[in-house]
Symmetry: none
Subunit: 226 residues, 2 copies
DNA sequence: GTCCAATTTTACAAGAGTGAAACAATATTG
DNA sequence: CAATATTGTTTCACTCTTGTAAAATTGGAC
């Protein structure tokens, strides 16, 4: 991808670590590994460009580790991809909430993981380039409202949840199913088109920034900063 | 923010103190630190514009320290932000009760803490600016009453607690559950609609400022300054 | 250009959420 | 103990939100 990004692989299963090491190395990445969160945190992370992190670890959980990294300004910008069990929706949601960049469910295809990794890195570069531009959209989580160029626009519960997820990861595409999982209460069954309507209603409230919610036909929606 | 507000950081973990010192200094604050409540209280606090205070301290607790400060007229006006454990609801409630200005739960993002700090200071300035006008709504915590355009209106216990929480953070939305937690004794089980009635009764007493308690359908209630 | 699939928009009805009033139950006061 | 104040529940009218369906639009393939 670019001049040897170094990826840190954290998983407590040595087998998986070996497979990943081989594939990422073949993919042109520099590779470091750790078998626990503690071991990973003890490393010098300054040269790390991406972390692949198993959520289920002995000792400190991957979630906890991610939280620590995202709270520390020195490491907050290192993208993280979660490896989670297929049905661990809780972990995924918590992860996205604290700022994890993407996730892949086990069992996963290594090829898919590599693609995700490259996508996350591309995304990071785009963001870094336009970091100075302090955009006009701010989600006020405490007030459950949106600040559009400083003007407060109240959001309904559903609208707030959709936008919270989308804005948490600019550039990441979320499928309708993912949005349903996140923004709709458990057990509620609605048809997929319902999400579309929610998006439409949101766009109206985004006023001049409606285009920031981008439709990706066949995939879902994503938020792009102004 | 403005001509070097000095912030006093109180935490018994040197690591956290270092991180905070660095970030607040970068943010343009003057910084002083203390590793215990006793050490903090021994300082000359006259130049301090804001205190960031860990609740869990060896020796005197942060809660106790805050109580002392708020009881002393010389220091009662210094805003305080609590650092509490994620699930320490008790501490948060007690803190708000004695007049703490805001709180952030650990583990916290430093960025969020800085934003909260700036918000608290802004709030203080706004209040200071319009103090001569003596306008509108003032909650008299000592007298457990409300001053509506200077006229005293007695509040019942429940009414006082609801309003105290809402007014502590203008613009923040509190769910019915949060209000129940704060304003109703532990163990008491009441239905959610009870809160609504409490709000209705409060609005009546707010007289011409009823609209300051804003309903956010699906979320809860929040206080907006006049 | 036409066709097709996907998406957007609009309108409407059902349902959930809310405000006010009245009443019952409980606590407080004299 | 009686009188009063406070608080919790219920009810009804009303508003806001939300899911669905149908029509309009878009974008791309051929």
């Amino acid at each position: 991808m670019d001049n040897t990004t170094t990826v840190l692989l954290v998983d407590d299963e040595q087998d998986i670590l070996d497979i990943l090491r081989f594939n990422f190395a073949s993919g042109g990445f520099g590779v470091e590994t750790a078998t626990s969160a503690e071991q990973a945190l003890a490393k010098d992370l300054s040269g790390i460009g991406l972390i692949i992190l198993d959520v289920m670890l002995g000792g400190m959980s991957g979630l906890k580790m991610a939280m620590l990294l995202k709270d520390n300004p020195a490491t907050a910008d290192i993208p993280i991809i979660f490896l989670t069990a297929k049905n661990a929706r809780e972990d995924i949601i918590d992860g996205l909430r604290i700022g994890v960049d993407d996730y892949v469910t086990k069992p996963f295809s290594v090829q898919e993981l590599l693609l995700r990794a490259q996508a996350v890195l591309r995304r990071g570069h785009r963001q870094a380039e336009r970091s100075p531009g302090q955009g006009g959209l701010v989600l006020d989580k405490r007030g459950k409202q949106l600040l559009v160029d400083g003007k407060a626009v109240p959001l309904t519960r559903t609208e707030f949840l959709i936008l919270e997820l989308l804005m948490a990861h600019p550039g990441a595409v979320y499928s309708r199913d993912q949005l349903l999982d996140y923004a709709w209460p458990d057990g509620v069954i609605v048809i997929g088109r319902t999400v579309d309507v929610g998006i439409t209603r949101l766009r109206k409230k985004l006023a001049p920034y409606a285009h920031c919610i981008v439709t990706r036909p066949g995939h879902g929606y994503c938020y792009e900063e102004a």
